[in-house]
Amino acid sequence: MINFQYIKASSPASAVTAITKDNSSMFIAGGTNLVDLMKKGITNPQKLIDITHLELNKIEKKNNKVVIGSLALNSDVADDEMINTDFPLLALALKAGASPQIRNMATVGGNLMQRTRCSYFNSTDMPCNKRQPGSGCGALKGYNRMHAIFGASGKCIAVHPSDMCVALAALDAAVNVTGEKGNRQIKFSEFHRLPGETPQIDNSLAKGELIVSIEVPANNFTRNIHYLKVRDRSSYAFALVSVAVALNIDNGIIKEARLAMGGVSHKPWRLTETENFLKGKNISEDVFKEAGELSVHNAKGYGHNNFKIKLSANSVADALKTAAAKS
């Protein structure tokens, strides 16, 4: 790891000032991804601004939403009583991610900011347009078993690795940020982006902006919810595919459905078409199967990951069935 200058930020404003002044500086919070990237020489900041001393770790319930400070630990949110009661899908997704040790370190804001675990991105010996724009995509014709089936481009087929973000996408969350030009809110669906021609840009944060909190609007998805994570081992592995489902069911009829997938795209992949299809339908295995097929009609495999298309369809159907069966 290349040595760097270390600075402790004492307020969000001073953190923003410090990062704006210096092009090569970065924020650090949990460090569970950044420290690893720095060891491998993938990210080489000359200055690290430690934001862990900022008071941004509260989980507060307000009238029509919950506001989660960006420095709240993954484990604190996952074990929070109110979150488990009112936003159980979020708690489920968090518990499916990483390991207890990593959840004790990783923050909510950092979870949004984590980089892809694409093996070509994570090795400086390989070409990668995300790590080194213009160097090519090693995964496109390489070993791409873990890669995207939705929204990829000729420049990048990497996936966003988060579980928590899949639940947040389904729950219509929003991201509050602060920067040189003041505060603003970014809709969760617009926070992460698709790779397009510029895969080096993961999200829509402007330079120097700091995530202050995540908010989730109140909902009544408290019973018929499920987070299905399919992976190579039963715990502590990244998703091959994952599905977050939230349903409102009345007398066997789906009043509202929310669906998002992880491990399949450069951003948490919301399935709005499938949601619209499910609205007003009776609960049945046939409907769920059809919903699964509909979800993958625009999927594209790249060779080794072709299996993810069928796996995704089946996972959507299975997650819907499990969520609907909860009482």
């Binding site: 760097f4 000359q46 990483a98 370190m105 039963s234």
Partner: protein, 254 residues
């Protein structure tokens, strides 16, 4: 375990020539008599052959490895640094040698240190404080061998920058026993044979203690899920679950 701070074995024991073991003898006469190459090899074999390191005639294999890796590091580092210094002698290169102050409490002992910001908590423990109980497995957050407690919570020391632990209390595997009395979790791992090679064991034990404290050890499925951050390549999982479960249930002589 014998402390062997003054003991210096020849570092090229596998290519031992006469001059080496004569030098070795003169440097170590207080520890062990080495008169022939066979004596030397025998003393070395004795060390690695015993699991109980107190039986080792002088220094332990672990101390030997510490010394040799330290010297290897010295041998490799200067040209690298030199090269970097010559080619990039700018602000960045000078930062190579910049250190920051760190006050940290480890196993109840206060330490006031000067460290480079890039030093991980794991490397601080192992390389600078000689607390080698905490293991370096993957060094990238995938195995759990480096698990320690920071302010009572289990974390991965390989992904923690030491400089960010200012004022915090760290507990490592060396800090859980009460004098000569082992921690109940250590006893349980011995009783239930919760290891084979033992490399992952310090991390497993630190994780297991936290797992129970967090309330995530009420049944075997729970234990398996909440211990999943600790990989055991020998596959001692079933006995690890038994050990954690026995402590969780408060069994006598767990």
């Amino acid at each position: 375990m014998n402390s062997a701070s003054a003991c210096r074995r020849p570092l090229t024991f596998h290519k031992l020539n006469k001059a080496d073991y004569v030098n070795y003898k003169s440097a170590n006469s207080t520890f062990i008599q080495i008169n022939t190459k066979a004596d030397f090899m025998a003393s070395y074999e004795n060390c690695i052959g015993f699991t109980d390191e107190s039986k080792c005639p002088d220094e332990t294999r672990r101390d030997f490895l510490k010394q040799s890796s330290l010297l290897t590091a010295f041998a490799i580092t200067p040209p690298t640094l030199l090269k970097a210094a010559v080619s990039e002698w700018d602000e960045r290169a000078s930062a190579f040698f910049e250190t920051v102050k760190l006050s940290i409490k480890i196993n109840g002992n206060e330490h006031n240190l000067n460290i480079e910001p890039r030093v991980t908590l794991l490397d601080l423990l192992r390389e600078q404080l000689a607390l080698t109980g905490t293991k370096k497995g993957c060094d990238s957050g995938q195995c759990g061998a480096c698990t320690v407690h920071v302010n009572g919570k289990r974390v991965l020391s390989c992904l923690s920058l030491a400089v960010m632990q200012e004022g915090k209390e760290i507990t490592t595997i060396e800090g859980i026993a009460n004098g000569e009395d082992l921690h109940p979790m250590q006893l349980a791992f011995i009783k239930h044979d919760g290891f084979q090679c033992g490399y992952c064991t310090p991390g497993q034990i630190m994780s297991a203690i936290a797992c129970i404290k967090e309330g995530h050890a009420s049944n075997d499925d729970d234990i398996r899920e909440y211990m999943s951050g600790n990989i055991c390549r020998c596959g001692a999982y079933s006995n690890i679950v038994k050990a954690v479960s026995s402590v969780s249930k408060g069994e006598k002589n767990a």
